[in-house]
Each structure stands twice: as C-alpha cells, then as structure tokens.
C-alpha cells in the first residue's frame, strides 16, 4: 500500500483540518480500495482531535502516534 505523507507542521486550525480533508476528499476512491493511506505530520494539538474525529465520522480508519515533538496521523481505508 502506498503511503502519501503531508507535512503540515506549523499550520494551525482550521487550516490543518481543512488541508487534511481536502487531501482525503481528493483520494476517496483509492482510500476505499485500500491502495493508499495518508499520513499527516502535525504539531497542532487540536488537529490530533479534529482530524481523527472527522476522518472517523467519514468512515475511515485512523491512528495517531506521538513522534519527536509532533504527531503522526494516519488515515486509511474503511474502519472495521
């Protein structure tokens, strides 16, 4: 599966969320097929809530992991 990474560190809300939603919406088909997953790197604490919440509400699987001073949010196909 291909992983596309977006470095949105430095961006604050709602830009971080809107950027994430834009990228998710432009790859709906591939995400659904499971051929791609999107990884967003963010230092915005609010985005670690809003991006997973929105993606989950849209039916995607989401995982969040803390890295060195920022967070990695991975959005993949349909959630179980």
């Amino acid at each position: 599966m291909e992983t596309i990474e977006f470095d949105i560190r430095g961006q604050i809300c709602p830009s971080s969320l809107l950027v994430a939603l834009k990228e998710v919406n432009s790859r709906t088909e591939r995400l659904r097929q499971g051929s791609v997953q999107l990884c967003f790197l963010t230092d915005n604490r609010d985005a670690t809530i809003t991006i997973p919440e929105s993606a989950s509400n849209m039916g995607y699987g989401v995982s969040v992991e803390k890295k060195d001073g920022y967070y990695s949010i991975v959005i993949s196909g349909k959630k179980d």
Binding site: D7, R9, G10, Q11, I12, C13, P14, S15, L18, V19, L21, K22, V24, N25, T28, L31, R32, D43, R45, D46, T48, I49, T50, P52, E53, S54, A55, N57, M58, G59, Y60, V64, K66, D68, G69, Y70, Y71, K78
Partner: protein
C-alpha cells in the same frame, strides 16, 4: 483588610501567577475560543462551546459570590460602558478577525508561547491594528456615543432596577440544569490523543477560578488588549513622534478605580507609559506566553515550524490586524466581554457576543473560500 504594599507590584505579581496558570491550562486543553465558534458553524461541533458555557456559568456564580461577600473593588468592573451599536459592529469585525487569525487575543498568545510562528504573525497584526484604530478614534467614539441604547445603564440588572442576584439566578439555574444534562450524556468530554491533554471542561473550571481571582485581587477580570495599544503607541512615538502627539486615542486615561485591597486609586490607559493597565496586563501576557511555553517544553513539543503556505501568513496578519482594530472599536476583546462582562450580564458584552457570533460565521465561510477546502465526504 488593607495591604500596605505598592498596588502596582501586588497587581503585577498576581497577574503573572494567573497568566502562568492560564497559559499552562490553555495549552494543555487547546482552549481556543476562535476555534469553538468557528467549528460550531463549520463542522457542527459543540463540545467546546459547551465547555465555554460552563466557563461563563462558573464565572457568573463566582463573581456573584464575590460580590455578595464584598470582595470586589467595583461592580460592574471598570471599563464597561452602556451598550452601543459599536459593541455589535466591533464584535462582528472581531469575530471575522479571530477566525482568520486562527486564535483570539489570548489564543494567539498561548499558541505563540508554544512556538507557533503563525500566531506570532497574528500578534504583530494585533499591535498594528490597535495602532491603526488611533487614526479614526475621534470619529468612532462620536459614533459610539450617538448610538447609546441605554444611557447610564451597564448591566441587565441596572436596566431592570433589580439586585444583580436575580438575573444571575434566572440564567444560572436553567444553565446549571443544562450543563448537568450534558455532563450525564458525556457531551463535555473530547476523545483525545495529545499527550498531557486536559479536558476542556476542567480547563473551563480552572479558567473561571483564574478570572475570579483576578477580579477579587486586581479589581478586574482578565484583559490584555490595552497593552497592544501601548506597544503600538510606543512604536509610533519613536517612528513618527509629531504624528503620535496629535493622536487623542493615546491620551485618554479611562481606567480610574480604587483598588480595594490597598485602598489606592489606580489609573491607566493606552499611552505608552507605566500605569495600572501596564502593571496588570504586561505580567498577565508574559505569564500566558511563558505558561504555555513551559507546558509545551515539558511535553517536548516546544518547536518552531515556519514552512507554512504564504497565504496562511497573510490570513494570520490580516486576521490579527482586524482583531486589534475591532478590540478598540468594540471596545475591548472577547476575553474582557465574554469571560468578564457576560458573567455579570453586561448589555454591551451581550451585543459584542452577538456580533462576534456573526463574525465567526462569516470568518468560517471566508476560510473555506481562501483555503479551498470544506467539510469531508463520507465514504
């Protein structure tokens, strides 16, 4: 009890401690008021707004308890005026500004403290906008004066000629029942992944206590924007001294009250000099920035990322400028009106709130256009 301490030192010390606590709490919970109202309109998210309601309600009860106990210097507190159309229009512009900037006046401070370069840009805009207002202050002040809705009346209690306790109870009783209902349904909790996250309801309780301590010990609830005017005035007085001398906005001394713990009359205004406003707000601002920076550093999250799309810098600068301008036009900012005026049912603060709601909606729509994205589609 009368303290023999210099009130400026006392107020400065108290404000620094309160600012540190506020900055720490706001960073841990990302208690962003701009985000609360924006997300209500953009994404129909309500959990943060419910925490905001908790903050206002708790502040209302704490302020009224302090008033009943005779702990307040002045009631209503200084620098609140009768309602005018300027409150509504200032609130509207403020709402657009804070959503565009990605944070309100204190949101900008705590995000800046945690290393946000965009918020630093918004801060520069806040100072610039505060200075810009001085260019048309006389005309705007005349407009505000000509649109006063209830002369000599500041609060709803004053308008109804009743004890402040009555309208407070009329709001607080149903408000408490509603909050209890939300609490029982678990609607005050946010699922969170951020390290050291503080639930917004807990942050709301902490911030209401911080505001109450400020009102009792300083004589006023939290406020920061006069300092932005002072900074703008200082820069202007250095760069354009002759022009600065002709600006009436920097000469006014609207703050004048007796500090009840020291019994000393305190004065202050937007002029770039040390006065009671500076003694109160400069340590508070410093504390908020430092408190947030400490919180971020403890979590290993104090980093500076500046590689952000240029249009976001433009938005932050424009939003900050609009907020600075509007905070003088309203007059005062969201913290002063929503965490101070609203809890004592000040009519001008209610108008500001109404205008700000409209502004947050407009700001949200503008953001969607500028950033070219919208709410997500379901798979």
């Amino acid at each position: 009890m009368i303290l023999t301490l210099d009130p400026h030192i006392f107020i400065g010390g108290v404000s620094l401690v309160l600012g540190l606590a506020a900055g720490f709490v706001m960073h841990r919970s990302d208690f962003c008021m701009a985000g609360m109202f924006r997300d209500l309109f953009l994404f129909k998210r309500t959990v943060m707004i419910k925490s905001f309601a908790l903050l206002v309600l708790c502040s209302m009860l704490l302020f009224e308890a302090a008033r009943q106990a005779g702990l307040l210097s002045v009631y209503p507190f200084p620098l609140l005026y009768p309602p005018t159309a300027a409150n509504l229009m200032g609130g509207l512009l403020f709402g657009i500004g804070m959503v565009s900037a990605g944070g309100c006046v204190v949101g900008t401070l705590y995000k800046m403290g945690a290393g946000s370069v965009l918020s630093l840009t918004a801060f520069a805009g806040l100072v610039f906008g505060s200075g810009l207002y001085a260019e048309f202050h006389p005309a705007w002040a005349a407009f505000a004066k000509s649109t006063v809705l209830a002369p000599d009346k500041i609060t709803i209690a004053q308008m109804l000629h009743v004890d402040p306790l009555l309208p407070v109870l009329a709001v607080a009783i149903p408000g408490t029942l509603l909050l209890l209902l939300w609490h029982r349904r678990g609607e005050l909790v946010r699922p969170a992944f951020a390290a050291g996250y503080l639930q917004p309801a807990k942050a709301a309780l902490a911030l209401s206590l911080i505001g109450a301590f400020s009102y009792v010990l300083v004589g006023m609830p939290l406020g920061v924007t006069t300092t932005f005017t002072k900074i703008a005035g200082f820069i202007e007085s250095v760069l354009f001294p002759a022009h600065f001398d002709g600006l009436a906005a920097f000469k006014a001394v609207p703050l004048n009250y007796t500090h009840n713990l020291t019994g000393i009359v305190l004065t202050g205004g937007g002029a770039p000099r040390f006065d009671a406003q500076a003694a109160f707000q400069v340590p508070l601002i410093t504390g908020i920035i430092a408190g947030s920076a400490i919180s971020a550093a403890l979590l290993g999250e104090l980093k500076f990322y500046y590689k952000v799309p240029a249009r976001q810098y433009v938005l932050a600068a424009a939003g900050g400028t609009l907020m600075g301008l509007a905070s003088r036009m309203a007059p005062s900012c969201n913290v002063w009106h929503l965490l101070g005026g609203l809890p004592i049912l000040s009519a001008s603060s209610m108008l500001f709130f109404l205008g700000m709601l409209g502004g947050a909606w407009i700001g949200g729509m503008l953001l969607i256009k500028v950033l070219g994205a919208g709410p997500g589609r379901t798979v």
